[in-house]
Subunit: 432 residues, 2 copies
Amino acid sequence: MNIQQEAHQMKLVAPKLANTTVAERNSALEAIGTALQKHRDEIFAANQEDLQRAKADGISEAVYKRLKFNEEKLAGVIAGISQLIELPDPIGAVQLHRQLDEGLIMKRISCPIGVIGVIFEARPDALVQISTLCIKSGNCAILKGGKETVNTNAVLFRVIEEAAVAAGLPKGCLLQATLHNEIDELLSCDKDVDLLIPRGSNAFVQYIMNHTRIPVMGHADGVCHIYVDAAADLQQALPILVDAKTQYTAACNAVETILVHRSVAAEFLPQLRDAMTSAGVHLRGTKDAMELMYATAGYPHEDVMVDEDFHREYLDLIASVKLVDSVEEAVNHINQYGSHHTDCILTKDDAAADYFMAMVDSAGVYRNISTRFADGFRYGFGAEVGISTSKLHARGPVGLEGLVTYKYEITGDGHIVGDYASGKKDFHFLDL
Amino acid sequence: MNIQQEAHQMKLVAPKLANTTVAERNSALEAIGTALQKHRDEIFAANQEDLQRAKADGISEAVYKRLKFNEEKLAGVIAGISQLIELPDPIGAVQLHRQLDEGLIMKRISCPIGVIGVIFEARPDALVQISTLCIKSGNCAILKGGKETVNTNAVLFRVIEEAAVAAGLPKGCLLQATLHNEIDELLSCDKDVDLLIPRGSNAFVQYIMNHTRIPVMGHADGVCHIYVDAAADLQQALPILVDAKTQYTAACNAVETILVHRSVAAEFLPQLRDAMTSAGVHLRGTKDAMELMYATAGYPHEDVMVDEDFHREYLDLIASVKLVDSVEEAVNHINQYGSHHTDCILTKDDAAADYFMAMVDSAGVYRNISTRFADGFRYGFGAEVGISTSKLHARGPVGLEGLVTYKYEITGDGHIVGDYASGKKDFHFLDL
């Protein structure tokens, strides 16, 4: 079977998985944890193969660390599964219970989305996290991992799928896509796949968004800003900015653009330059910002930025600096050049903070903290499938709640609309 | 300015409208109601022009009724505005309030989606409903109505926009697109328009969905089913089926396919034939169903249906009939050939009903009532912008709740992620 046929089959399995009890889904999760422990040597051996090939291909140290699946990573994903078991059932919740009229009762009940396609980067732990989040939320999943971890993924997927089915979940509720051309096949399954979650580079996510009619949840860009207000605590600002840029530079929630109020620029920018230089960060900026940070001849011409340059997401030890005259200008810059991900104001002025947090149109608006806090674990969601910059459905870090939808159930006894249209009957809405 | 430029301007106005108080938005709604009353003669005169041209073009009686904007329709939209004013503010609600750690406080707050493009059919009352729903929910709106009501829409829009701005809402929060080519321009505004709501024919909505990267909320198809179970009350079934087919035949929630359990088919189908024939409904079906309804020679060959024909949405006085052997087969048929809109089981058997309602993957699952109940007003939502068959964001009838999203606000005092990564600090999640 090709992916289209498999997805069509899965669509018919989805209601069966959706109607398992939370006890059944939790026992499957328990069984998966046990099976991962039991097959540890096989998993590690497969991972060694991937690592050796990756080394031969000359990959970077950072990527090597992500590919590695060792004792510590195994313990991490098993701890994650235990946490997931503890979380309340996201499906079957009665969100609305209303009498529409005598004998006509409506309930709105949370239910799984159905069939979710997840395309993720070369991180074996991502496969475990994503498949277990989908199981807990009653969603069928088609998983496509990065080619660099093909051996590790093959073993992990087999162990997880076998354990889940042996524990009683319907056969066919999990599927692994292994070939790169299967991504394009998956993108064409808009009749059977309800949601795509792509994770990876900006260009990759953009490609997915441009080539499918399936709804996509995630983000392409992470152009996050920190605005240093006139009333900022400048000493507190320095460690926040360094953390936001360097604590995990390749993350989408790392800061890319630093906006500084002109009234504190002369005092603050030399300090920022020193702190950032010590942390290995290269600063670029508008001409007036560069003049305050460096002597006139102290910076290369190509580091002088104009407005159009401020869309840049570096994902590297580089940051953009711009001076602004007011919190209003900062907000306008962020709404125009940002990616609506996470943006922060540093200030002791409540009025400025309130204005900023109300007016910035982003999934996360922060005050006096690092942008790196934008993460499902740090929000207390247990785990996340990704971070969404969309306005619809889930926004920000997406945990179990973002993997469910709802349906309206209405029960009556021969009720017809004609009686209400003719005035013979009237609605009497009453929340129960 | 063209639509792209106007949409870009509107994107910058959106945070201003989002931060108006509910009192300000409600006074704007009051002012709109008053202005519509004041300009009634002008509105009716413009509508007469549209009606005369439409008559000259030879439109059908049904369309003429929709185009007409008279005393009664005006009273209807003004009553709708009064109801909208009474509804609670959908924005600014604190959905989550959590301490992440000492001094690190997160709130999730509902907020408007931003800029919404609505493309709607030739119904002047739709312009009033949609613009006032957007105002109440703090969303900027770009409105494009059907060309048949261009004169009525022009006056209605001017009256509404002037009243809203005079009442204090930011200038530029409402925009009317009048030219047909502006639809394609609007579809290209994916940087500035957050959501599109198209209403109209299946082909039109499909065109919109295929030609934009902006998220689309709505439905193309409404292939709704009623399944007559072995344990159905057959006398109750007849008026339900007639209502579901004929009460408003052109509506998306009208029934298109009737599934009948084989064990009651011989008794029920002749009764169904008589009831439907009296109501002017033409029945088509699988060969075995046709044999039970008509003598062998009593129906044209082209009315005999095979499985692939069951995707049809007639929007007319025609219905499809199919026999099934079980509730399982009915569910499989609906999940495969339906449009996930609204589907109903008629039965006195609780187990069959529970199975059906759990397993059918549709926005609305009903028992013993007409499918025509699928409507925002009948659900007690006050009004609706449309009905969504998407799994994401809003599903089913979409009222104010479907027009908002949320943002995460976090406030701290110099908190950095490095301290949590190094183990110097730990998260202590506490819902407040």
